[in-house]
Amino acid sequence: MIEVRNLIKRFPHRGKDGKQTEKTAVDGISFSVKKGEIFGLLGPNGAGKTTTIRMMTMQTRPTAGEILYEGLSTREEPQRVKELLGIVPQHINFDQDLTVGENMELHARLYHMGALERKKRIAELLDYVELSDVVNDGVRRLSGGMKRRLLIMRALIHHPRILFLDEPTVALDPQVRRRIWDMVQSLAKGGVTVFLTTHYIEEAEALCDRVAILAKGRLLDLDTPANLREKTNLPSLEEVFLQMTEKQSAAKAI
């Protein structure tokens, strides 16, 4: 169970007039995610999705608000919470001086895995995304899609209970994308909670039990894809998304 209460993030920001001000990236959002749920966070560019994930994964401190994982607060028990989380960031962040295998091993060591367990798990995951052949190549040499696949596998090494995926299937070919979808679904069946962002609405529709729609740092709605369609009387989630986010920017313009 994840509980997010009144989460706010403001960044220092230089305005058009050159004066130092603040910019609100996330503006007081609250929601909860159930164990084993696949939860989607949708929103246009700059809505605050990545910032929300970065706060939830303790890479950046919230300006205000609270995040609880099974009752553990990120503020009070950072170490214990970190053990539970797996993170697939939006950007590639490998150690460029290490090989594919070494990057995976570094991760396993950072999560306190023993030598035997590390080896077995890494081999198994590389095999799953057909990267076993490049285990001794430098990460710089991988293609864009191969890097993405590796990024996702790295987050799974230590068997996280909660998996964060920030636009995980960008740059993946259709086969691999389906494969990642299958994997996400089977992880969720096994009790892993999945929190994902995506710009592919059909991906959210196919995977997510519930989706939250975020725009300009605020939650516009949160429901199952079916309920959202029904409420708005629109045929697809994509239409719902477009209508909601358009309405919001129209409201701002007036």
Binding site: Q59, N93, F94, H112
Partner: protein, 248 residues
């Protein structure tokens, strides 16, 4: 406690993997600058000079050790800057359940290893040139403290500086002048008193004098030792603080 050591080991392991791959290249490249110093100042220029009744070569070997260990340990840490700003690979450490100090300690130890390896090369070269130098445990301790201090300065720079250009400027405006002025090639007594006031407060000056005294079998100055420990501890506190602030 065991887990903290494991975490330090992880961070050190990463740097060791990288160093191991380039070890031969690293060692050879580390011979160039000291060799030039020894030839130019010790052997060429130094034959006609004597300092404190000894040879100039004996005088500058401790200075070269001090400035070289400073440069190597500082520059061993600077890749952390690119990892933070450009590759973003420090995020892995920030989001992992490790003891945050372990990152700092692991990086410092890896820099220490590189600097000590290159110091060993200099000692070997110096002996080959016929320099006299007494190595003692205290001598090694002073050398190690110097390495840690400048690795810490490199770490602080890597955490706080945002562009590659400014990172290079630290080398040009801080390390390079110190290399020449901090009692490495000549006594600081030769400097104007105002300049000397500043130079005498810098850690490298104390390292030069300590290494020179210990290397010729004399007593170490307790004050200089205290100064080095002081720098080492204060800078450590800054390293830890700035690393923890990465997640602000």
């Amino acid at each position: 406690m065991q887990q903290k050591l494991f975490d330090i080991g992880t961070v050190f392991w990463r740097d060791w993997v990288v160093l191991k791959r380039r070890l031969a290249k690293f060692l050879v490249s580390r011979m160039v600058a000291p060799l030039l110093y020894l030839v130019a100042f010790g052997w060429g220029l130094g034959r006609s000079i004597s300092v404190d009744g000894g040879s100039y070569l004996d005088f500058i070997v401790p200075g070269i050790l001090a400035l070289n260990s400073m440069n190597i340990s500082f520059n061993s840490i600077t890749p952390v800057h690119a990892e933070r700003v450009y590759h973003k690979s420090l995020e892995e450490y920030v989001s992992a359940p490790i003891w945050p100090d372990a990152f700092v300690i692991g990086k410092l130890l890896a820099a220490l290893l590189r600097a000590l390896l290159s110091s060993a090369i200099i000692c070997a070269l110096a002996f080959a040139f016929g320099a006299r130098l007494t190595l003692s445990p205290l001598f090694l301790l002073v050398l190690a403290l110097n390495c840690i201090i400048f690795a810490e300065i490199g770490f602080v720079a890597a955490m706080k500086i945002n562009t590659f250009e400014e990172m290079g400027q630290v080398n040009t405006y801080i390390l390079l002048p110190m290399s020449f002025l901090c009692g490495t090639f000549f006594h600081t007594a030769a400097l104007p008193s105002l300049v000397r006031l500043i130079i005498d407060a810098l850690p490298l000056t104390h390292t030069s004098y300590l290494l020179r005294a210990l290397g010729s079998g004399q007593e170490a100055s307790a004050l200089s030792l205290f100064v080095l420990f002081f720098y080492c501890l204060v800078l450590y506190a800054f390293c830890v603080r700035f690393f923890r602030r990465l997640s602000d």
